[in-house]
Symmetry: C2
């Protein structure tokens, strides 16, 4: 869905197929981390998730005391304060799909084609470097209604009144699979690019013959989505409960009074092949396990929304693409346990990283070589995720140490420490992409040899200490110069596939600074400048690279038309000047002072220039005079738009 969203926003002719007959309505993934919400906001629908979801503010740890009875031992913030304008929230995957479906409908004609299976995949390797070729051939089969209905929906809970009432009104229409008249037929599709987001058992990955590396696990867990009836005092908080002898449980409070419980099933023992007998696992057996863990508190339910059980190892794909034509994303290249609420997030973020790159390459705006950065950027994230999950799962599944001498048990202090360290990673905000044509920084030993180096421009990190090259731009409040409205700067960074130059113009009431800005604009506006070369002559000057200006003078001392060159607020003969390009770091009437220069670590007098990629990650930082370096950065990425 994330990939489809990018295709919609880039205006790419794309199709999305799913073997399921309908969308998801309940259960499945549910955690949404800060970075995912920031991304949703860049598409315009974070507010819907924020409104419908449960907000998780605090994380509790329950451990056995010396008497073996569980008691509350720690409370920590669920999301570290100050790192994002969002906090972690919980909402089931079906609603996330709804937001994406509505977004697709608003911006494109792309529809999810459901009940469709791929049957064969061929890549014509002689054509993979030809940008205009369609080297991929896929045979699709449109399933019959019978084939497209998964077992679980055949014994459907739709008749349950409570389920009906928990179903969002705008989802009801999707309960029934719409016939397209193609059922039972086959179809040949020729395409330039293909992305397999087809899960842990990825058909696409198997066609490519790629392996998953990692290890299996002995742990088997049950999952219940219930409305709990309980005297456990912290059931509306996220809780990690380690019982003395009965295993562990994670409590995730959800929307609509639901609570998700991840419950260790210590009584289910895998056989010699490592697989467990699934037939023994029912909601009743899972509940019984939960009751043992949470004892002496009582737990029962009248309503269960969804349940499942899983046994998952931590594995990462060896390769994330074939010929930078066929790509793998999400569970198709990384599997791990769901308890840290990472799966949906990291998977969506894979596609968020890849989508604009494919979009810009297909449109002929960017060079094909940038597609290599998908693997170099995302494979390391997957490895970090697996490492985090491995450590966290082991600590969470282990029996608590009875005392300091109990070396076979897990130290609860170590568990807390791992949680706190993992928590920043879990927000998705610590992702730091390595050096490449898209990130103008030096190579690092952490690159593990997988970074892609383009033209050797190196940005000046010291000019914006808190906008880290390779990381997403943090957000602080700024004011529109023309109407004084406060915006989080990130709200201006829409996912519309444009690169952005953030011109920190500094103190524009100083004559020296004003001259620097005028020279900068004159160079960018000149015929043959990189801005002119990469922007089609027939299109507005901000259609490929948008310049946003943030100055640090007092708002009342500055006027847009008087104090800034036209390039910074372009004129259109139908709608006049653009009043949404120039912002100021100043006090607002109702929402305080964002102190953006201070928070970004940018000099208030002299400013600097920052390039943001279409995914809000910082690609380049330089002085206002460094127009040559700035141009070189884009030379390494873009394709000339105006060749005769």
């Amino acid at each position: 869905m994330m990939m489809a969203a990018w295709m919609a926003r880039c205006g790419i002719n794309a199709r999305i197929i799913d073997k399921r007959g309908t969308k998801i309505f309940n259960g499945q993934a549910d955690g949404l981390q800060c970075r995912s919400l920031e991304i949703f906001d860049s598409f315009g629908f974070a507010d819907r998730a924020w409104k419908e979801s449960n907000h998780m503010l605090e994380m509790y740890m329950w451990n056995p005391g010396s008497d073996g009875v569980i008691r509350r031992s720690d409370r920590v913030p669920d999301t570290p304060p100050g790192i994002s304008r969002f906090t972690q929230i919980v909402l089931h995957q079906g609603r996330i799909e709804r937001f994406f479906l509505d977004h697709l409908k608003k911006h494109s004609k792309i529809e999810v084609e459901r009940g469709v299976l791929p049957e064969s995949l061929e890549i014509d390797t002689s054509k993979v470097e030809d940008n205009s070729a369609y080297p991929i051939t896929v045979k699709l089969r449109h399933l019959t209604d019978e084939e497209a209905t998964p077992e679980q929906s055949k014994t459907s809970k739709v008749g349950d009144g409570l389920f009906r009432s928990n179903l969002a009104a705008d989802d009801v229409d999707d309960l029934i699979r719409k016939s397209k008249g193609k059922e039972g037929t086959a179809e040949i599709v020729r395409t330039k690019y293909m992305v397999g987001c087809d899960g842990a058992h990825s058909w696409t990955r198997r066609q490519l013959g790629y392996e998953m590396q990692g290890e299996a696990t002995d742990y088997i867990w049950g999952v219940l989505d219930i409305i709990p009836i309980t005297d456990f005092p912290d059931v509306r908080m996220r809780c990690a409960i380690h019982s003395a002898e009965s295993g562990s449980m994670m409590v995730i409070p959800r929307e609509n009074k639901l609570v998700r419980l991840y419950i260790q099933l210590t009584e289910i023992i895998p056989d010699a092949t490592g697989r467990a007998d699934r037939s023994k696992i029912t909601p009743e057996t899972i509940l019984k396990a939960a009751q043992r863990i949470i004892s002496p508190y009582k737990l029962s339910y009248e309503y269960c929304d969804w349940w499942t059980a899983y046994q998952i190892g931590q594995r990462v794909g060896t390769q994330f693409d074939a010929y930078t034509r066929v790509f793998l994303a999400g569970d198709a290249v990384h599997t791990h346990s769901p308890k840290a609420g990472q799966g949906m997030n990291v998977s969506m973020q894979d596609a968020y990283n890849l989508g604009w790159k494919i979009g810009l390459v297909v449109k002929g705006v960017a060079q094909r070589s940038i597609l290599k950065t998908y693997q170099s950027e995302r494979r390391r994230v997957a490895q970090d995720l697996i490492e985090f999950d491995h450590r966290f799962s082991r600590l969470f599944s282990g029996k608590p140490a009875k005392d300091l001498m109990d070396e076979s048990g897990v130290s609860m202090a170590e568990f807390k420490d791992a949680f706190l360290k993992g928590n920043l990673f879990a927000t998705g905000l610590s992702v730091d992409y390595s050096a490449s044509m898209l990130v103008a920084k030096g190579r690092s030993s952490a690159d593990q040899g997988d970074s892609v180096i383009g033209k050797q421009v190196i940005g000046k990190q010291e000019l914006a200490a808190n906008i880290k090259l390779g990381m997403r731009m943090p957000s602080f409040k700024v004011l529109n110069q023309s109407d004084a409205r406060p915006w989080h700067l990130q709200q201006l960074l829409k996912s519309d596939s444009r690169f952005r130059i953030i011109l920190f113009a500094g103190n524009v009431t100083s004559a020296v600074q004003k001259t620097r800005i005028e020279k900068f604009c004159a160079k960018l506006d000149a015929p043959g400048s990189f801005l002119r070369r990469f922007t089609p002559a027939s299109r507005p000057i901000d259609s490929v690279i948008e310049i946003l200006t943030l100055h640090s003078a007092k708002r009342w001392d500055v006027e847009m038309l008087r104090d800034f060159p036209n390039l910074l607020h372009p004129f259109d003969k139908r709608v006049g000047w653009d009043y949404n390009k120039i912002y100021v770091d100043d006090e607002s009437y109702h929402e305080g002072n964002g102190r953006a220069y201070e928070n970004y670590g940018v000099d208030k007098e002299k400013g600097c220039v920052v390039v943001l990629r279409p995914d809000q990650h910082a690609g380049y930082i330089g002085e206002i005079e460094d127009v040559e370096d700035l141009g070189a950065y884009f030379d390494g990425v873009m394709v000339e738009a105006n060749k005769a």
Copy 2:
């Protein structure tokens, strides 16, 4: 639409008819004041208005200098900081209708029946005091398609590509009037209650024979909704421009790059009867007048979304209801100039005041006598509005004084002063309803003899200094005790027709205070208590009067199940305990500290009890022990639910 929203939320069988063939798509009213947004939020759709609208933060005054040339003279905040979590925004009336239409669809089967005219109205006065009677008979005529299409839409701009692109996607479907198969037929409707929201030329008012009192005006104004092309520096700010010789203009920046201009047409002179020749007024003549006022700046446009002209006096209806059976609201009982952005707001607030009263009376929950408070509460608001508008219009339309000696001119200092004073009124937050069975306070000389006194309970205002009896409850942030989520307290006050008791429980870690709370709950929970008497025995205990608790102890020192009587978090056998009733005034992780007790002026140790009406206005304040007074308040309002 506001009335229909209440009917939907109260579950009342209601119909809403409109002689127009379609909804409104552009133009008309556009200003939304803080209080209207608070009300929208109580229905759940303020976020949609907030997101789509233009936010107005600052108000500029432009006056002639000694050389006669206009210059910027003052900047003031458009909304006084600190009084609401919302600020003034601007969005055209068609979108507001959309939000209401969607709300109706979500909560009821009520649909706006368009192209329907009332033809006769009869009231059987012998039955008006019989609560179960249907004393009103209305004859309706369903118009033919030709009749239902207003002149302006016949020369439709729908073909204009820009108009199409400015039209919201979810409005497109309403462009065409849906045939109901009733066109050209008549229908007799018998109803218990009827509300005429039928504008300045109200058919309903004419049937009742009621007068409007007030005076006409000589001023004629033009209105343009355009995307301006201009070098005027403040076109994205709200501006009041007084030119030296060419009249005045108000600039209202709007959504979608639009700007609304209210332009004084000094060259159009009314005839002896006071009416102006409308045929002389075109967008071109209005633009020319604007150009003269804004000179030496240039102003033109390529795109005009809507335009009109008006000449309106300030008038108030003598009576707002007939037999408390037929009511008038909005322009039907108060007309005034649109420039202060009050019309849509005060009109919606009329209906917001009336809707729950009719709803509760029809449902048999409240006594019919509360309907008298509609006139006593809203007529004074209308009078205040007319007085404000009269003063403001005169100062805005007058020619600026050349100097202190120029007594025929308007003093710009006086204009600024009037604006600042009017600004608080304009937010809708200064409305203060007088003493009645719904507001337990003493009579005031400001009541002008129109207040309605019920049982003589007088609340103790001093226990909550900043929750004013008769005024809407201000909002500060509090945390949910069970999950630590911050909420603006007002977000908990949904428009669902329930009265609410806000139990400021004080410091519940003190044994003394805990005992007071226990006694309070024991009394309310006892058989025969007012809470039991007014709640149907078959319904949940919070279905008529909801108790919300806000305590002032530290969150970590308190547990819901351990520290609060069950009445404050009722148990349901399907869904367990209610975790959304108990809140705490404490520090949040991400959104600061609301300091609610301090801000409400309530003692942090001892607390108090506040009753809020379904419209969030404070009705009663007392000590936790004053259960008798509390019961007496409800005795004056409610009907016994459980008579044998």
